[in-house]
Symmetry: C2
Subunit: 589 residues, 2 copies
């Protein structure tokens, strides 16, 4: 350590918001170069290399071949699949000296697809799984959390190519199994949750989440085994009810009831519920107006109906409408909607169902504005909702009789106790960090880029693909998040930068001689040693550094050296044991 390129810091970096960032900087593993962009010091690079080795081994075991694609790529393939635009501000774009458009790749589906198209042409060449461990770029709006969400980050991305759906299922499963082995070896507890595949254009997708209260993602799980992230959660659709036999809906004056709460209060005061119970927000149908902004800049207004006791979850809505960005409707939108030829306009606070509701609401023409509802709003459900007139609401409006929506949408928030869609019982909500993501892309990329092979019958068929990612630098950060105490990092053995930390304390030559002998002895056992040979540094500082750096096993060589005794210090348990040097070899054998 007297000449190793390593400096520990006493102070936390001022920009560190999370533990891993704080400790990795303080302990000399990484240094920030720009927002979300880090340099790797020797200790950090060693941990990263160990993680990469584990991933490589498991990718090889899964039959995937390693390749390496450039980070700097031409625009065209991403233009063809639409992602040049869809990535929006998240994509780093640049031009070369000739004015050609280039990008720093955030992911590589396009060029892997083109490579296989370039080299393969028969089903006999498939299945194929190829992967790379490579630096990727995403211009995050807010690159907080140190390595958890960097703008330059290392990823393992794998892609599978099959000519049948069954083949894709097998390739997908092989990667999924490899992920389970990788995270187990890394000591990362994980939950595999259903994820939304929409953003990647795929058909099926699962996320590996590490459950932690500080996670950025919310997921749900039921005791019966259902697990999904909230974006992928699907509402359990209730049974429809025959719409005949309901009393007719009635428009009522409900002055000054622009909010759900004022409406419920007013209803309980003036329109007692036939069954004698109180009206609640769940009896009301709330209609929310949103604007969808497509990557090409076009703007579409949609109206979303959901039970009044639910809020719109923007993350779920964005997934539902991807790649559009979703905004609340603005005053301009409302102004336009207030006057619609041939039917009542929308009145803010008193918006009613839309579309096929025309008859009941006195409309004579379609509007072109989609009306989508929460999946719970099935035929035969009765609602109190706006009458599209200021100060008036409709009572007893029956879905399927008085209005028919243009479709359903998963826009409502998910709550603990909601039933899992597979019938496995109520879900609980938890937080997690994404550590891996597997997608069945299907044929989207192969179709867009023309990747076909001849099948067994000599017919050209479009290849079906999978895409499988692990954030290497993020996984490192998550491991650091999990493995620390107030004094510093505590690495699991599988990824520790060194296996053993030998500390010489004291000034006698016997201490340094013994330390060197101990180092040689431990190295002879095949372990990597960081030897703190600094002569002008106090034992207290050395111990503090060792705790901060977090190598799992520490050997302290001090006063006992004269008697051939050293101390073994387990960083995780804190336990210290005296051991004779003569017994060390056996200990490390």
């Amino acid at each position: 350590m007297s000449n190793y390129f390593l400096r520990t810091l006493r102070e936390d970096p001022s920009d560190a918001e999370v533990t891993s960032h704080r400790l990795l900087v303080r302990a000399g593993y990484i240094r920030r170069q720009a927002p979300g962009i880090f340099a790797w010091l020797p200790l950090g690079l060693k941990v990263k290399a160990k993680i990469e080795t584990i991933i490589r081994e498991e990718m090889a075991a899964a039959g995937a071949f390693e390749v390496h694609f450039p980070a700097l790529l031409p625009r065209e393939p991403y233009e063809t699949t639409g992602r040049w635009d869809e990535y929006g501000d998240g994509l780093f774009r640049l031009q070369d000296r000739k004015g050609s458009d280039l990008l720093l790749a955030p992911t590589h589906e396009e060029v892997f697809t083109l490579m296989v198209k370039d080299l393969y042409n028969s089903y006999k060449d498939l299945p194929l799984s190829i992967f790379q461990i490579q630096d990727k770029y995403r211009d995050e709006a807010r690159s907080r959390g140190g390595l958890l969400r960097g703008r330059e980050f290392t990823m393992k991305d794998a892609y599978s190519f099959d000519h049948t759906d069954a083949g894709l299922e097998t390739s997908y499963q092989a990667q999924r199994d490899a992920y389970e082995r990788i995270f187990t070896r890394l000591g990362l507890e994980y939950v595999v949750v259903q994820a939304d595949a929409g953003a990647m254009g795929g058909s099926k997708s699962e996320e590996f989440l590490h459950p932690t209260p500080v996670g950025e993602d919310t997921f749900v799980r039921s005791a019966g085994g259902y697990a999904a992230n909230v974006e992928a959660f699907r509402t359990l659709v209730p049974e429809s009810i025959d719409v005949t036999g309901f009393p007719a809906a009635q428009v009522q004056d409900t002055p000054d009831t622009p909010t759900i709460q004022t409406l419920v209060d007013s209803a309980n005061a003036s329109q007692p519920r036939p069954d004698g119970r109180e009206w609640t927000a769940a009896d009301t149908l709330k209609n929310v107006v949103l604007a969808l902004v497509q990557p090409d800049g076009s703007r579409e207004i949609v109206v979303i109906g959901l039970p009044g006791d639910r809020e719109v979850d923007l993350k779920r809505v964005e997934v539902a409408f991807a790649p559009a960005e979703v905004e609340a409707a603005n005053d301009g939108d409302f102004a336009k909607l207030a006057k619609i030829p041939g039917r009542p306009g929308l009145v803010k606070g008193y918006i009613g169902p839309w579309s096929a509701a025309s008859a009941m609401l006195g409309a004579e023409s379609a509007t072109g504005i989609r009306y989508l509802v929460d999946p719970r709003i099935v035929d035969g459900t009765e609602w109190i909702t706006g009458a599209n007139e200021a100060g008036r609401h409709v009572f007893g409006l029956v879905a399927g009789r008085d209005f028919i929506a243009d479709g359903t949408v998963e826009a409502a928030d998910v709550r603990a106790g909601d039933p899992a869609p597979d019938g496995s019982g109520p879900v609980e909500l938890a937080r997690g960090m994404e550590i891996g993501h597997v997608f069945q892309l299907g044929r989207k990329y192969a179709e867009a880029l023309g990747l076909k092979v001849l099948d067994e019958n000599g017919k050209l068929v479009t290849v079906t693909m999978g895409s499988y990612g692990i954030g290497v630098t993020r996984a490192l950060a998550v491991i650091a998040e999990l493995n620390n105490d107030e004094k510093g990092l505590i690495w699991p053995e599988a990824v520790a930068p060194f296996d053993v930390h030998v500390i010489a304390t004291g000034r006698d030559e016997i201490v340094f001689e013994t330390s060197e002998a101990v180092t040689a002895l431990v190295e002879a056992s095949g372990r990597d040693v960081l030897y703190d040979d600094r002569r002008k540094v106090s034992p207290g500082v050395k111990f503090g550094d060792a705790e901060l750096i977090g190598i799992p096993t520490i050997v302290i060589v001090g006063r006992g050296a004269a008697d051939g005794i050293v101390e073994l210090w387990d960083r995780r348990s804190g336990e210290r044991t005296q051991v004779a040097v003569t017994e060390l070899a056996a200990h490390f054998a």
Copy 2:
């Protein structure tokens, strides 16, 4: 090979200008993604990894620690050192979503300097050498030659930090020694030549060139041991001569002599040389007008005088005037120079010396335009040169008497037979490819970025640095350039993607059983095997692929398998030897 991700091509890629590019693509090592940007297939990645391992081992032996810096970096440090502008069009620049300027780093002096400044503060922390193996970016005007000059390429760059000049010398030597070991292990013949350190702002620099007729660089060497690239070659300056006693210069009519050849012919016809010999171009002083365009866009005109038998070497001039770009003066420049207040203007084809030549040439004022001369134009040399009047020249113009230049410049081309500046005799010219470059940067970067440490006396001193680069992907290409024949690549053992290529030929099960046994046996010896187990591919195609791929040792398992005999095929010599399977283990032991 039946499922390995590998396809060999029958046709050369249409854009391949050099052998390495052609063969690496055809043999399935790399694929082009954009001009100067390549993807690495499994075979290529394996060769690259082997080269990197050799470099890592020798860097560790040289006491350098491995780190890893981002490719995407903020503008500021490069602005501080001036390189944000100096790199001109060669730098990939971009902006993030917030409008901050970023670059893709072409080299990392700035951020390494800042890192050390950030962490170190005492001479006791030094010396320090740190390196990385990392992908770099340069927007080459013409990215020809495949991997020889890529726009995204892998480099090993190391940086040393010392607080004394002697320390820098030691650190420099350690890297230089490591380079010799690396290139020896890679089987790359090299010449270490003096190089110009100017572009990096340094004080001393050497290049490792691989001598080859297809090299991009020209270097000179003398039998006495001098070696330099032409940019760094320094002219041996002749002795000055006492300027008294020369006859006075005379302006003569020399109609229609705008070129050196017409001037020499005219002089020989009308002005016989006093010693009776013929005038030659070497007796004339040619004055060339150049425009220097600085990175900030400002334009300066300079006039360069050199013996008429020499040409301006633009590469040498560019080094002399770096970071300015050098252009020939255009008509606009000449128009301006034709009329200069207080003295004769410049007349194209009849330009004479400048500056202090004012007296003789009738000028009364300085022009602000520098007049620089070749180092051979020492005091007491006599010249025929332009008189700054159309159709007139001056004869017997004596340097140091009739004109005094503003300085000298190494602008003239270097020729075989020119004397080496160290007196080691005449030089010969040769071509080479740069495979490594070592610089003593001195204090330029540390000064610009404020890297100081406390010295032994508690005084702040600026750190002195070295910078040391090897192009990893370029080295791979050079190895491929060197090791091939008309049939394909022939890898040296140290970097071959696999050690042994086992080929099963024939249809009998015994062939495949024997091949598998041979593969297991060779792998048991610690060697990596590529096994061609394809069942529907002819022996001829398999042999062709093996020759193209270039693994040094090939084992052919064919008809002899039934008798326990296989054939060892040495790819380089072409020699084939029959060996009993029972003897193979001993052979590979």
